[in-house]
Symmetry: C2
Subunit: 244 residues, 2 copies
Amino acid sequence: MAPSDHDCPLSRKLRTHMPLARADLAILADLHARRRTYPAGADMIFEGQAAHPLYILYEGWASSYKLLADGTRQILDFQIPGDSLGLNSMLFQTADHNIEPITDIVASEIIIGDVAGFYASSPTLATALLWAAARDQAMVVEHLINVGRRDAQRRTAHFLLELGARLILVGRGTRQGYDCPLSQYLLADALGLTAEHTNRVLRQLRQDGLVTFRDGRVVFDDLEGLIKLADFDMGYLDHGVLLR
Amino acid sequence: MAPSDHDCPLSRKLRTHMPLARADLAILADLHARRRTYPAGADMIFEGQAAHPLYILYEGWASSYKLLADGTRQILDFQIPGDSLGLNSMLFQTADHNIEPITDIVASEIIIGDVAGFYASSPTLATALLWAAARDQAMVVEHLINVGRRDAQRRTAHFLLELGARLILVGRGTRQGYDCPLSQYLLADALGLTAEHTNRVLRQLRQDGLVTFRDGRVVFDDLEGLIKLADFDMGYLDHGVLLR
DNA sequence: CGCCGTGTTGAAATACATCAACAGGAGTGG
DNA sequence: CCACTCCTGTTGATGTATTTCAACACGGCG
């Protein structure tokens, strides 16, 4: 097993939560072999699709979203390296939302015959996958609270902080900031705002010296202030990486 | 096993999704034995609690919610008979939200040593539980879309329809309507609106002849119209009970 | 060169929140 | 029995956050 396998985003993320035996690491390394690239913009999983596959994302960003009858879009979450694509909806027989790469991505398809069998062969990893699913759930819950009860400024601040915390976990960000391929339109569709208003909110946050979102990069100009503004609490991510 | 055991809300809900063997029904019936009542208003699970129990709700309504620093509350979902309390957060070591009975409720506590063992002893029921968890997730997702991308009218309409569909599944509602113990304040905290605005929206919906929310009862005055207004699609609940 | 995606700004419209007040019923203690 | 409070529902007036509509600037890319 090459050293790089221990540094893959998924293994990194899982190891912050639970120790992994050598056999488990081997299984993770095994997944590396099957990875390939998928182009930005082409849906990999779409709503209503039966028996879709499960992917582990290695490089690049994706988005899970749903379209409404009036053409508007709600982005449920962005997926970053180490995240799974289509895990939740795998338990259903059909996917309940779409998943589309934002950038070109590198991912590997996983075939799990049945969950029970997977539990027998690799209980640790199966538990880890369940943990990941629960974490996804917690993320959507926090997103709901964000959209339901915070105004545009706090909502945006909270979202950028959450992304930062997740990226730090997989070694793609620091307390100074992170690279971020999102357009303001994508951000708006995630926050439940219009692109114009998102633009104004970002300007305000920048002028207040809190955070700069520009040219594919997020810079935390005043991390403490931003955390305070957003009422940001990492408990639901199970790790206070931003605060250490 | 008494006939009533086959009619318990959980068994009813599960059987719409998958067949249950006699052994599984026996396990479900077993849960009946341990049920007891819990009073309205007293939290059964609270945020940050470690190793909390798991309950199956038999009678009455509960709510899962989170409080923000400024004192506002976002209700994530209401639980009705047949739903579980605390399933998602059981996978985490600590609960990530509070659960509080809205009415006096009847529920039974479930002890699951470890998920893997449960899979060995009763794979069908374990899978059913996972399915229930995935369904909860889908519900939160739809709730997010509701709050993020629908105006107050459509949002309220959609929410009342969703509750109706879930209640029909467990025999607590019809296409005419259902009994609903929610106050306008609770409804507002679920919808991300103020109680005053919720009141105005409900009046509008009533005056438009679509739905009447009053005196603990929801009446669908014009189900078709309401479904159309709300852009309501039952796919994510896996059953089109309202439309049959 | 023209076009399209993205970012940016302004003015007007509106959905929703906030603040304030009142009405009725249910409980509670006198 | 009354007086009292609390909870819920209801309505009005006003304020404001956000949307909508419109326009333009810029770079990349055909």
